[in-house]
């Protein structure tokens, strides 16, 4: 019994220290903002994907800063985790959605908007316009109305590599794709497979395809395919798949071979590449890989891991284009409290609070590059703003049945492609029929 009280006391002490620390950091971040607004009041329920170990604390810091400016408004954040799409779908269908939610797929947002479940955020239009380039506003616009704010962005055109493995092989980060392929052979000869592929998560495969397509054909054609104005049976897709086969078909250069690549998910692919000794040398994935490395492996920045930009394929203005994924904030209701919160989230102050702590990329061009805490973070997040062209993750833009459903649509079909990279025309045909079916609805 006594022990129980000691534990409770310990928890209380820890909690108060943590709380005090948070208050200190958020008060210094909010120092720039204007006066406190006591007129607006209310509670906002927010369903988000960030949990205690991945972003909840940072987002809570943003919330706290907002609540300092609007002391009568309380934001109630619910960390749902990876089940968010299900919980949200149920809540919306059942007629009891939260006030706000964080949705990663524009395709899903479009669906909700078309069904009339979302409230437009036109009141935030000018704030967003002041801080974001027009392309970002367009990302949140559906049927001519502004529905979503892209609060957080992830750079998906990043490759993470194992520094000791590269050193053993005597290669340095490649800048072109042909150099990458050559380096991969050298790395294989040095005794480590070059590629760590997390094919169990279909989206890692679609990301690879999208980067290849983007760098081969440019942003305009990418957007056309994304909107299904180009069919998946098009010759450009064939070329991109053939290029992709040069990586996924090089089975002896993939850790675990094809069978392993299909069983390892994204997390495994990262831990495999940065275990010591390294089981593979490279992971093709986004800026959030860094968080996985630090939480699940012993690798250290610069000495253990580092990054380089996705190699260019076709020289030209889009050679360094950046593909992003993002968190879109939407509102299911409209009241002064919600409007105040949305407008606040579009300001650079809100973004800076999180950006300062790492693991956060933004399209807000009023956020200075100096705010990123370390060089590797800066190298992965800054290009979101500095790249000449920025496109959104293609599979996230598709109708969800095609672009983001486990085991089917793009995800499932690219896994089939990984299993048999020679059957390019077969995969194309299946992709096109799945896309056509999804777009018909």
């Amino acid at each position: 019994m006594k022990r129980q009280w000691v534990v409770v006391l310990a928890l209380v002490i820890v909690a108060s220290v943590a709380f005090a620390a948070v208050r200190v950091s958020s008060s210094s971040a909010g120092a720039r903002q204007t006066s406190v607004n006591k007129a607006v009041s209310g509670t906002i329920t927010f369903d988000g994907i960030w949990t205690a170990s991945s972003g909840q604390k940072q987002f809570q810091d943003v919330i706290n800063a907002f609540q300092k400016l609007y002391p009568k408004v309380h934001v109630n954040y619910k960390p749902v985790g990876n089940d968010l799409p299900t919980v949200l779908a149920t809540a919306v269908a059942g007629g009891h959605p939260p006030d706000m939610a964080d949705i990663a797929q524009p395709g899903t947002v479009k669906q909700f908007a078309t069904e009339g479940k979302l409230k437009p955020i036109t009141y935030a239009s000018s704030v967003i316009g002041k801080n974001f380039a027009p392309a970002w506003k367009k990302l949140g616009t559906f049927d001519g109305k502004l529905y979503a704010l892209v609060f957080k962005a992830a750079n998906k055109s990043v490759v993470w590599y194992n520094v000791p493995a590269f050193k053993t092989a005597g290669v340095s980060p490649p800048t072109t794709f042909s150099q990458l392929l050559k380096d991969a052979q050298t790395i294989k000869a040095s005794g480590t497979p070059a590629y760590s592929i997390g094919g169990a998560d279909g989206w890692t495969l679609t990301d690879m395809f999208e980067n290849i397509y983007l760098r081969t054909f440019g942003a305009a054609k990418y957007d056309a395919l994304s909107a299904h104005k180009i069919k998946w049976t098009d010759k450009s897709v064939t070329t991109a798949l053939k290029t992709m086969a040069k990586i996924v078909g090089d089975t002896s250069n993939i850790y675990g071979g094809t069978s392993g690549a299909l069983q390892y998910g994204f997390n495994d692919s990262v831990t495999n590449a940065f275990a010591s000794p390294a089981k593979a040398a490279m992971v093709f994935e986004a800026d959030f890989v860094g968080g996985v490395i630090t939480s699940s492996t012993k690798a250290k920045p610069k000495t253990g891991f580092n990054t380089f930009t996705w190699p260019s394929i076709t020289p030209g203005p889009d050679a360094g284009a950046v593909e992003i994924a993002g968190d879109l904030f939407v509102t299911f209701r409209d009241n002064p409290a919600i409007e105040a919160f949305v407008k606040y989230l579009a300001t650079p102050q809100a973004a800076e609070i999180w950006a300062r702590q790492g693991g956060f990329g933004t399209g807000n061009h009023n956020v200075p590059a100096s705010v990123y805490p370390d060089p590797i973070t800066k190298a992965t997040e800054a290009p979101i703003l500095t790249a000449k062209s920025v496109v959104f993750d293609m599979s996230d833009n598709q109708p969800p049945a095609f672009g983001s459903t486990s085991g089917q649509g793009e995800w499932g079909l690219f896994q089939q492609f990984l299993r048999n990279p020679k059957n390019i025309s077969g995969v194309q045909k299946k992709l096109e029929s799945a896309a056509a079916a999804a777009y018909k609805k």
Binding site: V8, L11, A52, S53, V80, A93, G94, K279, S295
Partner: protein
């Protein structure tokens, strides 16, 4: 119950005599050996999970949990510490207790009443109604989420522990009624007959005879219902906002990207302690035996 010697008062055999009898079935030593081997093999995954919970995530990235046998110094309680840092853990456990205990009690009572009705009360349409009830076993939780959302909204049951508990009660009833009815049906008919002839009301029969006689089944039902609701995630996630039982709390700790085995493993063990305690406390009722003090 099949043909019993008519009318005689049944006195239970002490367990020992039963044990000695079945002893002739198989010689003792091989059975012990077989059970030990099977028991040990059965425990391996659970032991593995425990060892995983005391290893740091980075160690598990390159080697399996059996590395602890060659590097015992890797063991650490850090994962558990990290969990307890969060004040939400205790609240979550309390909420889970409310939900689990609340709905288990309800299921046992309501289920026993209905089970008795289907077993020993005679009314028209009884058998068909029973079959429909069993048929409801098939209804998957997921399909009830959306229609119930509207109902919960209207009656203000959203985000309450009792709202969640009621959901579990309803979904636990088909199995409860099925199990208890089939169990009650096997009880000695003559005792019930004589009680009825003596003028006891159905309620008295239910409370004084059926419940004590049915204790083994009721105890096992109680354990499972408690367990299933203790470990439920979907219902609590859907119908709660601030009401967070332990499963939802754990889910809210997991990383969006990255293996969360250093959270899942220790959290599972923390969560496991109470249901295990319930099991150990209840399991002796299984061997309580027939007619413990209930013969009139």
């Amino acid at each position: 119950m099949a043909a019993t010697t008519a009318g005689a008062i049944v006195i239970p055999d002490p367990q020992d005599r039963v044990a000695v009898r079945i002893l002739r079935f198989v010689a003792k030593a091989p059975v012990h050996l077989v059970l030990v081997i099977i028991g040990a093999a059965w425990l391996v995954p659970t032991i593995g999970l425990f060892i995983t919970s005391i290893l740091p995530a980075s160690a598990l990235a390159s080697k399996g949990w059996w590395q602890i046998f060659s590097h015992p110094s890797l063991a650490t309680w850090a994962n558990y510490h990290a969990l307890f840092q969060n004040a939400g853990l205790v609240t979550a456990l309390k909420t889970t207790a409310y939900i689990a205990v609340g709905n288990t009690a309800l299921v046992v009572i309501i289920g026993a009443m209905a089970g008795y009705a289907f077993a020993w009360l005679d009314f028209p349409g009884r058998d068909w109604l029973f079959i429909i009830v069993i048929g409801l076993l098939v209804v998957p939780l997921q399909m009830a989420l959306i229609p119930m959302f509207k109902v919960y909204d209207t009656f203000g049951l959203f985000d309450t522990w009792y709202g969640i508990a009621l959901f579990h009660t309803a979904f636990g009833l088909p199995f409860a009624i099925f199990l208890l009815r089939n169990f009650f049906v096997g009880l000695p008919k003559d005792i019930l007959e004589s009680a009825r002839i003596d003028g006891a009301s159905e309620f008295r029969i239910f409370i004084r005879l059926i419940l004590p006689l049915g204790l083994p089944a009721i105890a096992s039902l109680g354990i499972f219902q408690f367990l299933w609701t203790w470990n439920d995630l979907l219902v609590a996630l859907t119908f709660g906002q601030n009401t967070t039982p332990i499963t939802v709390w754990i889910a809210g700790q997991l990383r969006e990207f990255g293996t969360s085995i250093d959270i899942i493993a220790p959290a599972s063990f923390i969560s496991l302690v109470i249901p295990l305690g319930v099991f150990l406390a209840f399991q002796r009722y299984f061997v309580q035996g027939l007619l413990a003090g209930s013969v009139k």
